[in-house]
């Protein structure tokens, strides 16, 4: 009897501990999602060019992330969240491509296959760059247009590395590709952005 009572008391404590852990995890999850949702929305909006679609993608991403990765450690959350988002953006891109083919308005972008001159890609660290010469909303519009012109993988590499601040390994994990691919995509993205922004001037 005493053993059973002891077991029941232990079970009650374990129950309370679990409830507390779940509640803490829920708060941490809420904070994390609050922190990434706006950037995720911006990334989705750049990829699909439409805020409603972007909001749907972000909601879908949040649900899938919580369903599959909420139990992971908090340090793993950022790359895993962006992996889910990247996957959803790829799906959206694929669906749109198929739809566009059927509607015969598909425009093939060959920028991803262009061979770039390494000298052209090299950055001059002393040069203030094209954006500094564009003021306020002009800079925003120019950057927005230039980012929308980039192929999906290049844009994701740029946003994750340069805006989200991920290192190469984390970006590779989020994009589910090799570190070498991340470097290649980023290098091409930087060159294309620079060129586009210079042209914009």
């Amino acid at each position: 009897m005493a053993e059973i009572a002891g077991t029941m008391a232990g079970s009650g404590l374990e129950f309370a501990r679990r409830v507390d852990a779940v509640s803490t995890n829920q708060r941490a999850l809420d904070q994390f999602l609050r922190g990434v949702e706006r950037r995720a929305l911006r990334m989705a909006e750049l990829a699909c060019g439409n805020r409603d679609d972007a909001l749907d993608i972000v909601q879908d991403t949040m649900c899938a992330f919580v369903r599959n990765y909420a139990a992971k450690t908090e340090t793993d959350w950022p790359p895993l969240f962006h992996r889910v988002l990247d996957s959803r953006l790829n799906d959206f891109h694929r669906r749109r491509t198929v739809r566009s083919r059927w509607l015969a308005v598909f425009e093939r972008k060959s920028a991803d296959d262009d061979e770039l001159d390494p000298v052209e890609q090299a950055q001059d660290l002393q040069d203030p760059g094209p954006l500094l010469r564009l003021a306020g909303s002009e800079a925003g519009k120019a950057l927005d247009a230039a980012l929308k012109e980039l192929p999906l993988r290049q844009r994701q590499a740029f946003l994750l590395r340069m805006w989200e601040g991920f290192d190469v390994a984390t970006t590779a994990r989020a994009m589910q590709c090799s570190e070498g691919s991340v470097k290649t995509h980023l290098s091409r993205a930087l060159a294309a952005l620079r060129r586009a922004l210079e042209d914009h001037q």
């Binding site: 079970s11 929305l41 369903r67």
Partner: protein, 127 residues
Amino acid sequence: MKDHQHSNDRPAWIDQASQVLDDSIRDLDAATLSRLNRARQAALAQRHAHTAPAWLLPAGFASACVLLLAVAAWQPHRRGETQQPVPVAAAADTVADEGDSEENSAEFYQNLEFYAWLDAQNKGDGG
């Protein structure tokens, strides 16, 4: 994770681009913020629904313990009910039977050597 604040080896225009992107998400309209909030709440509610079975585990264990206690408390009564009073005569017969059986068994073991000899004799006659 966020290393770009500390990096000095990248072109200034990239920092400027990051700043422009940060500015673009700072002032979102109320409808968008509301939609984001609803999306977040929906995702978290789904998480809440998924964690419910984990809560049920200790509750189920406690219920099983209570059931076990109830069964343990009920069993002695049941045993008392099922044990019918044995008639005195029948009981005496049973004791007598048990006594006979024990007696026969003891007699058998005492005469075990005789039975072994008898068996050997029978085999010898047969051969």
